[in-house]
Symmetry: C2
Subunit: 198 residues, 2 copies
């Protein structure tokens, strides 16, 4: 009753977004109503444009605008080291560390017998094809440190090791700046097992 | 470096939205990338549509899609009681109470000498014109209970009372369900002053 129909439609659509509840949707809707037309059209154009231009990189299945993603196309990246991740969203946090200079391979998920996700549902065949045709010396399996991620990592290691390629996994341990008191027992246990001399 | 250009453009636009930081923008961008095209187009269309169809009600300056807003057009509303608010966003919370059955008048702000907002910057002339031409018995001044809102209320009361129209203001007091212990002293002071017999 109290919102114009097109405002109600906008509120409904905004509330579908992750992390956006009714209050946030209302704040954003009023921002849209109060902003000048050009600003709002820039937003709606950016939304449509991303759907029109972004697809998967033909090599690593990261998001890309051209045939290959910017990382695969960069001559500065070391193509002999492939970091395997579950989703494209896992790449930006790794890039921000500036520690990894290799390339990626996006599986599109993780093995999960519970959810019926098997090896054929992930881009594992595509990974094996890359390992056969590219000169790869190391595969870093950076799937999440949870049940599905660990299962996937173990499965891939069994497949890849016989090829004579080094398979590694990022270390588990205490988060830097974290508090020992608040560490969960599994993490703390792994950190103790992996202790190193100073 | 790690995001396709059109994804970066989308992230920049999303981060302009109120309450949306880099992490939320990223979550929304990935949601857009993972959602099917029709869902995403419904969102972008809703954004454009609201700018194309919503303007101010010619009578009360609430948001409207037709010449007048749904509240002004409703035969169920009592046009003899006008509730004055600062912004259109103040109307939904009042409507949700289901306590007020009159109509509204949106000032478009509040008096603020600090920010150089005087009576001519608000829709006060338009309110006075309504009071002269419509049969109004009461004006409820529901500007915010802060310095600017109180100043605006006092200013309007001085203008309207001489017309023989009752001027009221929502009560200040303790929030229902709130804790006396955590009430600020001004609110608690007003609640005590306005105490009523049981």
């Amino acid at each position: 009753m109290y919102a114009a129909p097109s405002i109600q439609v906008l509120l409904d659509e905004l509330e579908r977004l992750p992390g956006i509840g009714p209050k946030s949707a209302q704040r954003i809707a009023y921002w849209i109503l109060n902003s000048d037309r050009a600003t709002v059209l820039r937003l709606s154009d950016a939304i449509v444009e991303v759907k029109n231009t972004v697809h998967f990189c033909s090599r690593c299945f990261n998001y890309a605008q051209d045939d290959m993603c910017q990382i695969c196309e960069s001559p500065q990246r070391d193509a002999s080291v492939i970091c395997v991740v579950s989703e494209p969203r896992d790449i930006p946090p790794i890039e921000r560390t500036a520690v990894f200079s290799g390339v990626y391979h996006v599986l599109g998920g993780a093995l999960s017998p519970m959810e019926g996700i098997g090896p054929d549902d992930l881009r594992i065949a595509e990974l094996m094809k890359r390992l056969a045709s590219e000169e790869v010396t190391e595969v870093v399996i950076a799937t999440n440190p949870n049940v599905e991620g660990e299962t996937t990592a173990a499965y891939l290691a069994r497949l890849i090791k016989p090829l004579g390629i080094t398979v590694t996994r990022p270390a588990s341990g205490l988060p830097v700046g974290g508090d020992l008191e608040f560490a969960d027992e599994v993490t703390l246990g792994r950190a103790l097992e992996a202790r190193h001399p100073l």
